[in-house]
């Protein structure tokens, strides 16, 4: 029995040891699988998994015909590891022998491939020799990247660097704006960022020892979103013509700046907003910082006589004048307190009709016509309904609302001066928008620069408002345009303004520019008009600020005619079939 007890004890010991060992394993198992499982999983994953940024593509900006104004492109940063910079062996072309390439040679090859200078690359590589990262070249094109890769330098790498390019350069560069290193910097790139803006995503995947992605291991931690496509109302070909013509004439005249704004009268869509000088978004440093935006929206000025058309339309709507209202216009109108109104040329008494006053741009005549509607508030209301003193519906970056002071601040001269465009300010965009209302039978449409934003999923947002507001009656608007035809057919600029076969309505403006010492010798000259006059389709406003060589609106006439002709050609306007309306200028 001793044996049996021994056996029993022995087996009990064995069982105990087995239990102890099993218990040890269980504890360890629980520890690995449960207690520190998350920690260990993470550690193992970090050895296998790679996190990567997936780039969302910033939306394009296109013109009304789908031509690309702003485009997102792939660029690449070429980087290197200074730590690993050394000579290396390169297989010769037949693949049999190898050639040793010295560091200096490699740097020279890199310089040729990337366009950077060898000196810069050498500096980048030797600045921090112990570092594992240095830029060789930034934002190189695919072509350059391919050249770099072909060199087969083992210590050179590349990183994707999404970038922005503007294939048309400064065509509409004043409107589109540009992107800096820290994101959108100017223009529509900023204000429409909610449309074109994209966001980068992140995802992780696991890779094997040779760097190949393990199937099914991709985990998207954040989805990248692409931006929408922003469609403008601008016609890029026409915009280019306007900018080229504007720049050419501005240089000839020595003008500080100039603008051309062309609006389709039926819906208030802007066909062109040309600024001189304006920025090439590909080369922002090429112009001074004050020329980066659009002066057509941001620079208010006293428009001068182009306001007279709006005054005439207001008075016609109020029923206080007709195109043939007779006014005896003296050479000077005294307003007491030493204040007076003068015309731009010396004259004695002239017997003008209202049309004659508009055609010859008589300030004194306009002041007498203004007397027929003495209520200042009513006249100011007409101006605000034409869009004065408020931002246009475009809401462009840095836009100015111009200024028409409250009537309580109008003195005896201002009371009349605002009616011929002095003592108040407006932007070129506002003037074009007001003339749009004249051409559209008195209905002011919201000025529109953005036709819509198409998101990647196909939804269209940012659709422009199509609700117009009536400013003056249709008869008043049409009669005003008919009176403006006489500026072209009977005015002093008839030889330069007439476009054969087309009735054109226009009004000139030669405004004095106020500086610290009052009105000086500087002028802002402009012509605003409509084509074709019998059924206006486009409103055109051409403005030059502070020209040196010619300071009258006559200097604008050739440009205005070129733009009008280009409007006719580009937008296929049929020749007029009715003769121009003619009113007597004198009685």
């Amino acid at each position: 029995m001793n044996d049996a007890r021994k056996t029993k004890r022995r087996s009990a010991l064995a069982v105990l040891v087995i239990f102890a060992v099993v218990a040890l394993f269980v504890v360890r198992l629980v520890d690995i699988q449960v207690v520190s499982a998350a920690d260990l999983n993470e550690k193992s994953l970090s050895k296998r998994s790679v996190s990567q940024t997936t780039y969302g593509s910033r939306g394009n900006i296109i013109d009304t015909n789908g031509n690309v104004l702003a485009d997102s492109v792939d660029r690449f940063d070429i980087t290197a590891s200074p730590l690993l910079v050394d000579t290396f062996d390169r297989k010769s072309e037949d693949g049999k022998s190898t050639v040793e390439v010295a560091v200096v040679d490699a740097i020279n090859e890199l310089a040729v491939a990337t366009g950077a200078t060898a000196a810069d690359i050498t500096t980048a590589l030797t600045e921090k020799p112990g570092s594992n990262f240095a830029y060789v070249a930034k934002s190189v094109t695919l072509e350059q990247l391919t050249a770099v890769r072909a060199l087969g330098i083992p210590w050179v790498y590349d990183v994707l660097h999404p970038s922005r390019t503007y294939p048309m350069g400064s065509v509409a560069g004043n409107l589109v704006g540009f992107i800096g290193t820290d994101g959108p910097q100017n223009g529509l790139e900023v204000t429409e960022d909610s449309c074109v803006g994209s966001s980068n995503g992140t995802s992780t995947y696991e890779r094997g020892a040779d760097g190949i992605r393990i199937p099914g291991s991709t985990v998207t931690t954040k989805q990248a979103t692409d931006g929408g496509t922003l469609k403008l109302t601008i016609d890029s070909d026409f915009q280019w013509y306007a900018q080229q013509t504007l720049a050419q004439r501005s240089i000839e005249l020595g003008a500080d700046w100039g603008t051309i704004v062309v609006v389709r009268v039926s819906d208030g869509h802007l066909m062109a907003v040309a600024d001189y000088p304006s920025v090439d978004p590909n080369n922002v440093d090429g112009v001074s910082s004050s020329d980066l935006g659009s002066r057509a929206f941001s620079s208010p000025f006293e428009p001068g006589s182009t306001m007279k058309s709006l005054t005439i339309a207001s008075l016609l709507d109020a029923g206080t004048i007709t195109p043939t209202t007779q006014v005896n216009v003296p050479g000077r109108r005294d307003l007491g307190n030493g204040q007076s109104i003068k015309d731009s040329w010396a004259h004695g008494d002239i017997r003008y009709t209202a049309t004659g006053i508009l055609t010859n741009s008589s300030n004194i005549g306009t002041s007498f016509l203004t007397d027929s509607l003495s209520n200042k508030e009513t006249r100011r209301d007409y101006m605000t309904k034409f869009g004065m003193n408020s931002l246009t519906a475009v809401g462009f970056q840095g836009e100015s609302s111009g200024l028409v002071r409250p009537t309580s601040q109008w003195d005896a001269v201002t009371n009349y001066a605002v009616q011929f465009g002095q003592g108040m300010t407006a932007t070129s965009a506002q003037m074009a928008s007001a003339y749009q209302a004249l051409g559209n039978g008195g209905v002011h449409m919201p000025l529109t620069l953005v036709e819509g934003c198409t998101m990647p999923d196909g939804t269209v947002t940012d659709l422009p408002s199509t609700e117009g507001t009536r400013v003056v009656s249709e008869a008043a608007a049409d009669t005003t345009v008919a009176m403006m035809e006489n500026v072209v057919t009977q005015g002093s600029l008839k030889n330069t303004l007439t476009v054969p076969g087309y009735n054109v309505a226009a009004k000139t403006g030669t405004a004095e520019v106020a500086d610290a010492n009052g009105y000086g010798s500087d002028r802002i000259i402009s012509i605003a008009g409509l084509v074709p006059a019998e059924a206006p389709e486009y409103a055109i406003v051409v403005t030059f600020a502070k020209p040196d060589t010619m300071k009258t609106s006559g200097a604008v006439a050739t440009t205005f005619k070129k733009i009008t002709t280009q409007v006719i050609k580009t937008f296929k306007i049929a020749p007029s079939t009715v003769p121009a309306t003619t009113y007597p200028l004198n009685f």
């Binding site: 690309v68 492109v73 400064s170 065509v171 992605r213 199937p215 240089i251 080369n283 020749p575």
Partner: protein, 211 residues
């Protein structure tokens, strides 16, 4: 495996009895247990097949991973190439470039004396004068005034950097002939238009040659 655990206690009563001259006969349970070996073999073979299938499948899948990686790389590269080419196309079709190229070929965009054809009665509106290169928008001014820094490296279509010497000689001869005739090489013809051109004869319409 579990089969063995049950089989062991069955054998123990047999061992209890001292050996007699009797033949050991398999119990009914043992006889019944015999087919279990067959089952075990089937299961093991089945498992083996499964493991092999799994192994092959994962080999195929990981082989696919290499193909996917290669295809994704080539898709990315081709996408980039396509993008780079369309980027270049957009640049070349920019209005500045088109206008400059067209004018270098002698075309003139002039709006100083436009002439229009009224379809209603076939009347020609305006007095036609031949366009002069000086009136054109690019050559008539100080070049392209709507800058595009990306166009810096784009050559004119008329530029012949490296051509066949014979063609170059021809071009030089043509240029010399043009200069001798008083015609600007890249400009519009300044000679009066011939009698059958529309521009020179504003009162009549040329009869159309084709539809």
């Amino acid at each position: 495996m579990s089969n063995l655990a049950f089989a062991t206690p069955l054998r123990s009563p047999v061992e209890e009895f001292p050996a007699r001259h009797i033949e050991i006969v398999s119990s009914r349970e043992q006889r019944r247990a015999r087919p279990r070996v067959f089952y075990a073999v089937v299961v093991v073979i089945g498992l083996f097949v499964l493991f092999m299938a799994q192994l092959l499948l994962s080999i195929v899948v990981s082989d696919g991973a290499y193909r996917i990686a290669a295809l994704q790389n080539s898709q990315r590269d081709l996408g980039r190439e396509q993008q780079a080419l369309s980027e270049q196309l957009d640049l070349l079709s920019s209005p500045q470039n088109l206008a400059t190229q067209a004018e270098s070929l002698g075309m003139v965009l002039s709006n100083t004396s436009p002439v229009f054809l009224r379809l209603a009665d076939g009347a020609i509106l305006g007095s036609a004068t031949a366009a002069d290169a000086g009136e054109s928008v690019i050559t008539g001014s100080a070049g392209s005034l709507v800058p595009n820094s990306l166009l810096a490296g784009v050559p004119l279509v008329t530029a012949t950097p490296d051509v066949d010497p014979a063609i170059a000689a021809d071009a030089a001869a043509a240029a010399a002939a043009g200069a001798a005739a008083g015609t600007p090489v890249a400009g519009a013809p300044t000679a009066p238009p011939t009698a059958d051109s529309v521009a020179s004869n504003p009162t009549t319409l040329p009869s159309p040659v084709t539809r």
